[in-house]
Symmetry: C2
Subunit: 458 residues, 2 copies
């Protein structure tokens, strides 16, 4: 292995090749406790596309796998090291290279933190929508690789909807430029959207051209409390069928509400479900949207609806939603699922999670993006108990099965990674799997990039 380390040091400089096990330990895994992870041979931190190319060529020659990694905020183990690999960390490639307000686009390196980009474009009256929960530390590169979502998706879509083009270092070290700087373009296959969400299995993204939107108006906020999840589900369906597109529509189930009440020492005045909505349309349009949402909630049997145009009050109302995961940590460690179901099946999903919770004897809090059906049932367990961990795993899998049974998908935004491979095979079937393997082989015949993520190449 020594010759490879020497080549890596030549490629990126000795200081950017980490091999001390105590140091590399923190690059071994992401935030998903279930996923397997190995010990990397080295962690490299390149600062340019050319350095990435040199690292890829060296690893290809040595037949040493590369696991690309951003900040490590992922929840599927996609960035987890495989034994003896090189972890290629893009966090030092963190320049915002260009912001072009006239064409509403930005060109960035992959290590730019999501929040830093948001802040930088906001100064130009512009908006980069994707806002995963980890937006204050996750990187654009990771967002691209997982096709990250967030709270914005109900109105503004996911990461792929904001990408115009990519620079990608391929398995032979060549640089591929996909896409364009224009709003539209159909020259050739849509390689950009093929690389987005490919979890680092097809190449290393070293630059991205991102589409920006005009900065929305300050949001008005509404919360609605329900005595049953079924009623909350009906409210969501009504909002959808009545053609309202809120800029945020989140749901919390009974278990989430109770956890947050205990943690924040407050009364959320909701028995079974809480719906939190925002409109960022501004002015009369925003008021009309919020009034229509209020009507939909009342018609669905909400116990209580409260709306405000006050920004800081609105932020306070969202505190409950943002506090869920932290609140659950009072009870133990958590493991979060990411199923996405048709919007009409949200209440069924929550009911199913209650059944699974009873069956495994563990607390499961359901919180999620009601506006697009992307739910995060979160299982709480004692990490020191092997038995509880096993039951948590069982619940995790049963929720995936439930999501599929409800006509949904196993992952709305976290990805497949190294934890849901069998489930991906179930969801896409043998023909789908064969096509995936064919594309992987076409782009990475030696299985250099992130082997074993998403699927085994065989």
């Amino acid at each position: 292995m020594e010759p490879l380390l020497a080549e890596l040091r030549t490629a990126v400089g000795a200081g950017a090749v980490l091999t001390d096990v105590d140091v590399t330990a923190s690059y071994r895994r992401d935030m998903m406790p279930l996923a397997p992870h190995g010990q990397p041979l080295a962690v490299v931190l390149p600062t340019s596309t050319e350095q990435v190319q040199a690292v890829v060529r060296a690893c290809a020659a040595a037949r040493t796998p590369i696991v690309p990694r951003g900040a490590g905020s992922g929840l599927s183990g996609a960035a987890n090291a495989v034994e003896g690999c090189v972890v290629l960390v893009t966090t030092k490639m963190n320049a915002i290279l260009e912001i072009d307000p006239d064409n509403r686009l930005a060109v960035v390196e992959p290590g730019v933190v999501n929040l830093d980009l948001r802040d930088a474009v906001e100064k130009h009256g512009l908006f980069y929508p994707p806002d995963p929960s980890s937006y204050d530390w996750c990187t654009i590169g990771g967002n691209l690789s997982t096709n990250a979502g967030g709270l914005c998706c109900v109105k503004y879509g996911v990461t792929t909807d904001s990408v115009l083009g990519l620079d990608v270092v391929l398995a032979d070290g060549e640089l591929l430029r996909t896409g364009r700087r224009t709003v539209k373009g159909v020259a050739g296959y849509d390689l950009t959207k093929l690389f987005v969400g490919s979890e680092g299995t097809l190449g290393v993204i070293t630059r991205a051209t991102l589409a920006l939107r005009p900065l929305p108006q300050a949001p008005a906020t509404l919360v609605a409390a329900f005595g049953s999840t079924a009623a909350a589900g009906v409210a969501v369906s009504r909002v959808v069928t009545e053609g309202i597109v809120p800029s945020l529509m989140e749901i919390m189930d009974r278990t989430s509400i109770k956890a947050v009440e205990q943690y924040l020492k407050t009364d959320l005045n909701a028995d079974a479900a809480l719906l939190l909505c925002q409109s960022d349309s501004g002015g009369e349009a925003g008021r009309r949207e919020l009034a229509a949402i209020e009507q939909a909630c009342v018609a669905a049997g909400a116990d209580l609806v409260y709306a405000t145009e006050d920004l800081s009050e609105g932020r306070d109302l969202l505190t409950a939603r943002r506090a869920v995961l932290t609140a659950l940590e009072v009870y133990g460690a958590w493991l979060t699922d990411d199923v996405c179901v048709p919007r009409t099946r949200i209440a069924d999903l929550i009911a199913g999670c209650e059944r699974i919770s009873e069956s495994v004897g563990l607390r499961i809090a359901v919180v999620g993006h009601a506006g697009d059906g992307n739910m995060h049932p979160t299982i709480v367990y004692d990490p020191s108990s092997a038995d509880e961990f096993a039951r948590a795993q069982r619940a995790f899998d049963e929720i995936l099965g439930l999501g599929l049974a409800l006509g949904g998908t196993i992952t709305g935004e976290h990805g497949v990674g190294k934890i849901k491979r069998e489930w991906l095979a179930k969801e896409i079937g043998p023909v789908g799997l064969r096509v995936h393997r064919g594309i992987k082989r076409a782009l990475d015949p030696e299985n250099l990039f992130n082997p074993g993520s998403m699927f085994e190449l065989l």
Copy 2:
């Protein structure tokens, strides 16, 4: 060849296999006069996925290429027959299988006409955005294969932005299901968006799950006349930088204006450029948007701005834009380009087209989607003159070069087809081309589907 014809007759029924040269002639080419086309062995019109599978298996066994085709409204020759092929026409698979207003989606067969889908979902208060000019006769299958755009794109994106999932018959006759019915989903590679825009080179789409939007408000309309294209370009840039997103923003240059004035026997009161804009936000928001567009036009030096909330008056104002191609036919045949440039370069593109027009000695009218930079410079020539046709071809190519030189793409919505292969190679470069070929080989190793469209496999 007889055994294949017998198998095709078994597969789809004798009446759905056309071999009479007089009949098949109308399936030889689409609407692009420049593209090469051959004589098909047969034209088949299957009515089900199973029939498509049988046709594909029979053709694969006989090593006879398949060219998938919708209505034939394409403008790149992508649906043109290659010599001795089977043209697989999807127009008889024209059922709208499902409209689900609660989840805002529709499931359709590929032969559904765009307008029929629009009308059907409108009854549920829903909206299918993609609206190519041929929307009253083009099919969804063709729209998917070319990733079609239209006037809606500035606000609502292109076809790929409205697709959730596809059924695709692959080269071995197996059925691939991509995507999902949920709003979000990241399970595996985004195969859906890989097939969208692949111009029938990777498989035959037999079903699509489409995302719908709430029906927008009735549009308010504005026209602005400019004494110079530069001023009109400044107006477009101002609209973009001020964060306004009109639902339509079209531009006509001097040559388009003159042609339409002569054809409609009217005075458009515009010397050099006409901008036509709509807002479908409704109410106060719509008025605010239109007022902001008006301000941007005035500030850019518009000679005249006129706005109306009256629907039928608005429709009348758009008549000029819709009449351009018909008006040009008074002078001869037309050949339309489809470059897309950064929105800040629209005036440069128009100026460049004026230079090319002078240089080749042919009329070139520039009309296009100013809101997204997708321009259709349209060359008028005498089809009976080989010399004029050759000059038209030269102009066509020079405009593609101009589009690339301005930082744009050779095609915003019409596709590469059999007419821009060399230009695709120029735009995406050797690495891009290699990746395209790798993906094509992975999915269609025998080059069964639409060989020679987009690129030669080699």
